[in-house]
């Protein structure tokens, strides 16, 4: 089960600072989006997308999931991607979407 991925070199502290800077910039964009009226039509998908970018950046780099065994990825992403269809159906059936 040990794959090549498990041995890919981990990021250095400098890279971690860079990633944090990137996350900060994305957050700044997120905060700005609601106040730009031109973006109103695509506000909802845009904000979801930016959140997903941040989410997977932290999971991939800070939690090292990019570099981990496939097993760990499966275990976790099961939960992440499982929760969406279930509750989309729940909310649809309750007329809340």
């Amino acid at each position: 089960m040990a794959e090549a991925a498990a041995h890919r070199s981990h990021p250095t502290p400098a890279m971690y600072w860079g990633i944090a800077l990137f996350l900060g910039v994305v957050t700044a964009i997120e905060i700005a989006v609601p106040s730009i009226s031109a973006l109103d039509p695509i506000k909802v998908p845009l904000l979801w997308m930016l959140a997903a970018v941040k989410f997977f950046t932290v999971v991939g780099f800070f939690m090292h999931l990019r570099y981990e065994k496939r097993l760990y990825k499966t275990l976790f992403l099961f939960g992440v991607f499982g929760v969406f269809p279930l509750f989309i159906v729940v909310l649809l059936s309750m007329d809340a979407l």
Binding site: Y16, G24, T27, K69
Partner: protein, 197 residues
Amino acid sequence: MSSQAAPVETHDHHDIRPIRKAAMWVFLGSECMFFGSMIATFLLYRNETGDGPGSEIFNIPFTSASSFVLLMSSLTMVLAHNAFEKRDARTTRIWLGATALLGTIFLAGQIFEFAEFVHEGLTLSTSSFGSAFYMLTGFHGAHVAIGVMMLMAMFYLSLDGRLYDDRGLNVELVGLYWHFVDIVWIVIFTVVYLLQV
């Protein structure tokens, strides 16, 4: 069978670290469902404000600042983990302390925010909106508080050089948990705050 095949060495000795990590990832997958259910509840009740206030009482600049604090605590956490892997106990301790501090600032911010909202008339029982809001952010806050406690336990262990003893908990597992608490907030910040204003 051992006589003719004599194949792989029978390693009875399972390194326990990957086993714990697998269990931690399973647990985090489970937590996704936990928070997912509460986020769905919030989405369902986002407009059910009854007679009480709704999302207009949110103070986005304030919450943005505390979100940023929590986001940066992920950076300090990963630096602590990095130093831990390099067996640099002193640097690990500094970053652990910084993470715990940032977590505490976030919690203080949340308590302040809750107090403000209660003052403005939004309580747990005002409306379904209030119930869902406080439950979601409250359970998240409880997770942050448990995380801070674990960070302080690690900090304490590092003081007398016991950071590398084999125990139930280690910096890597605490780190995974901490980052998870952070990514949950990334979603909450978007869904509860940014999408509602």
